[in-house]
Each structure stands twice: as C-alpha cells, then as structure tokens.
Amino acid sequence: MTSDLHKLTIVEAQARLSRRELTARELTRACLDRIAAVDSRVNAFLTVSEDAALAQADAADARINAGGAPALCGIPLGIKDIFCTRGLRTTCASRILENFIPTFDATVIERLREAGTVFLGKTNMDEFAMGSSTENSAFGPTRNPFDLERVPGGSSGGSGAAVAADECIAALGTDTGGSIRLPAAFCGIVGIKPTYSRVSRYGVIAYASSLDQVGPFTKSVRDAAIMMQALAGIDPRDATSSARPVPDYLRALTGEVKNLRIGVPREYFVEGMQPEVERAIRGALASYRELGAETVEISLPHTEYAIAAYYLIATAEASANLARYDGMRYGLRVEADDHIGLYNRSRDAGFGAEVKRRIMLGTFALSAGYYDAYYLKAQKVRTLIRRDFERAFERCDLIATPTTPATAFRIGERTADPLQMYLSDIFTISVNLAGLPGLAMPCGYDDRGMPVGLQLIGPPFGEETILRAGEAFERAFTPRRPAL
C-alpha cells in the first residue's frame, strides 16, 4: 500500500506527529520508499543512509512521545553533499572527495541532529558548488522532476529536485551566486538564501567565503520560516556569523501586505526574457497590488556588471579555498616522484573541467600584475552594486524580480559555452554580492508546465519582510506538483 506521507509539508507533518497520528519512522519510511521508487530517474541523492535515518527516526519518536520535542523533531531532510556529516561520506560531487568521510558535523548539521531531524542522505550538486544546472557533478546530473530531460538548476539541484519530487519533506542547500534560488525556481518550490552571516558556514565545504550562505528548500514559505528558525544564529566557530538576535520568523507571517512598498527594478525585465516568465512575474505583482501592496519602479543600474564582478571575486576566493585539496592528508592522491608532482597530478585527476576553469580564472585574477585590474576592480564594482540596493531600499521595503530569465533548459543545452551557463545567474548574483536575503517561490508555469520562480529580495536581515510577503502570496497561489 502506498501512502502519501512523503507529500506532507513540515507544518502538516508536525501536526500529525504531535497528535500521534503518524510516527517519525512511518514518515521516514515513506520518504525512503519514495526515493527507491523515483530516484533512479531523478538522481537527486548521491548517498542514502537508510539505517541511520531510521535510527534517527526511532530516537525522534521517543522524544515526541516523552513530550516537549523541538519543532523539527522527526522531519526527514535531504542534505546537500557540501555539508560535513560525521561518519557519512561527503563528496561535494567531486572525484577528489569521492571517499571522504568527515570526522565532524557542520554546525547546522549538529544543531539539526540535536533537534531530532532525520537525515535521509546527501544530495547531488555541481562539483564544489560551481554551476547552475547540477550538470557539473562528477556523478551524473540530477533531472528536473517536472521534465526529466531538463535540468533542476544548480548548484543545489539535488536538494531542489528531492523536495519537488517529495523524496524528502525539506532539504538543505547553499547559495553563492544563486545556487538555492535558481533550483527552487526551476523545480517550483521555495528556497531562501539568508542575509550573509545569518547562518553559520562552519563545516560547509567552502567555495567563496564572502558569498557562501546556507539555506533551506521547502514546499511552502511557512515551512521555510520554520527551517530558518532552526538554522539562524551566531556560531563561535564561524567568525563571520552575526551576533544579531534571531527574530521569531513565524510571528512575521501575518498575511498582511497592505502598504508594503515593492520595488520593481527595470533592469530585471530584459529583452530576450521568456515571455511566459515576464507574464507570471507581472501577474504576481498584480496579485500583490490586489492585496494592498504598492509597486514602485526602481533602478539597480549596475546590474549588468554583476556577473563579471562575481566571476572574478568568487573564482579568486575559490582558488584559495580549493588549494587545500592536495592529496596529502585526505582526498584523492595520485602518486608522483615529488610533492609538487603529487599536487599537480592529484588535482588534475580529481577536479572536473568547470572547477579547473574557475581555479585558473581566480588564480589569474589574483596573480602579480593582474590583481588591481581584475580582483580589486571587481571588489570596487561590488561596492557600486551594494550602493544600488541601499538607494533602492530608501524607496521600497523589498524588491521583486524574476529569479531567472527563462524556465529550466534542457540537459546539455548550455554545456558547450561556459559563459552561456554563467548568464543563468543574472538575476540572483547581485544579491550575493550585496549580502542580502533572497527568497524564490513558484508564481506560475510556462506553456510546457515548467515552473516560474518569483524572487523577493530584502534589505540586510530583512528575512521577516520577504517571508511575510512570500507567505501572503502563497495564501492565494497553489503550486503544482510534478506528475512523477
């Protein structure tokens, strides 16, 4: 007998668990069965940890029965394979870490483990988080549950697809240039990139340290607020994590958007955009006006420079962060006569093409003679991009944009030209450069039934505003599920 338990949201699961209508074991079993049924087609999971998950579920049931269990106790999650999980293989979708077993948990993993959540397994991604489609995984691409010939987006494509396909109730991802928001948009679910420094990066395999952020994928905005509550907060082991108090995110979900000023940047409605995307976004804006919000045209004039700036800053930081993969203490080693040869060969064998490309670009940008013209220049442009947003937020409370110019493309469609792939991030990337919070949620579907994602951008630490606005929209919009 097939149950539909895997289709539950966090809110629904919490209610049934607390009323003892459902056990965590049953819920976990349902997700594991769903994974067994569909994941050979979706390829969202790199590692499924069935026994450990069921053990966590049993422990969660004991806590729920004893009373006073935390909010996420017993909820089964997918975890992007970028988070160190003690004793559980963590690959970053790279051959260089193919057999790497972390000996510690990332802070967010530790906190979720202590809160009694269940980890179903590790999800697929672009190698070292470098990509927009999950096609750069060393272990094969993940497929979009709405159309298996199309990409789920990246780099957190495995987590996005897993939630969309109901293989898990929610999932964790990371976002450096759009890697949560883009898969959320392509897979028709909710994803949040919090304000930089809101969530600890300790134990998250680093790509670009001034841009990386951890965030949730969920089936609803309300669920995202619940996840944010569990993830946010200072961590002494992440020196960049913020000491600002964490608000009550659920309290913010009042459904009230009267007089909310929504900025609409003219630079985000570009020629060449897919018409159905524009239509769906304009439709969402009209819905907001019906709910009493006000839309205000704004300008973010340096938008067109964001990708260029990002691909210097992120790659420069990545070239430093990936220098540790040298075959000496962990990871793939290819033997050589001397240690330099060992580095050269191990890294050549272990890194995929996109990773090599970005390390090379970043190394070049930082090298003597080029640092000022490239890296430093990009960081100055970053200041201009930040200022655009600061000025905009004088006139509006949040900003609404498409998440991507088009819906999910076909697998293999953009792999020939790296630049073409980079341009997928055009609407998400500025948000990382400015360190702002961004939420992506479904707001419509194109003529093929592929999801269109609305992006809501808040001022620094403005998660409450974008959650409130997102949840208000959600009350009037029912997202579709894939037919998988």
């Binding site: 420094s197 070239s319 890294r347 050549d348 090379m360 960081q379 442009v381 630049l419 980079y422």
Partner: protein
C-alpha cells in the same frame, strides 16, 4: 574570432601557480575559455571606480575574539581517517626537503 586575452605561456604559468597538471587538450580549451571569459569581464572597465572603496566583506564588521584556550581533544585516529598513506601516527608524504 575574438581577440586573444591570455596566452599559452600565461595559461601554463597560472597552472603552475594553481598546481594543476593540464593535458595539451585542456591547455588549449582553457586558452579559449579563459580568453572568452576575460573578454566578457572587460566590461567592468566601463565603470569609473577611481574613488570607490572595495568591498571585501559584507557581514557585520569587526573580528570576534575569544580566550586562547584549547577547546577540543586530541583525536589522532580521526585526523588520520582519510589519510591517503600513513605510518603510525603520521601522514606519509613524498620527501619535501632536498
């Protein structure tokens, strides 16, 4: 065919800095790819940033401090768990000092 923005020599030099051995085919592809990407990146030169300060960090400014006390415990087996080669309690690596 757009202007070459990086030479083969530069590619080899960068590969040496990055400690990645590249095949002939990879060198060629990277010459093309990096040239194209650098060409795109040139648009940043349209902007006058003379009087603009760089942004290196976007979080709250300042460095948090703590007392200099050891808070973890020695776990040599855990440290060595992923060692490609080991000898006793040591990572085994090629000779580094001549």
């Amino acid at each position: 065919m757009s202007q070459k923005r990086i030479s083969r020599e530069q590619v080899l030099h960068v590969a040496e800095l990055a400690r990645i051995e590249l095949s002939e085919a990879e060198q060629q592809q990277l010459e093309t790819d990096l040239s194209n990407i650098l060409g795109y990146i040139e648009k940043l030169n349209q902007l006058d940033t003379e009087a603009v300060e760089p942004t290196f960090q976007v979080g709250d400014p300042g460095t948090p401090w703590r007392d200099d006390v050891v808070t973890n415990h020695p776990e040599p087996e855990a440290m060595l768990l992923n060692a490609p080669a080991r000898e006793g309690r040591l990572f085994k690596v090629p000779k580094i000092i001549e």
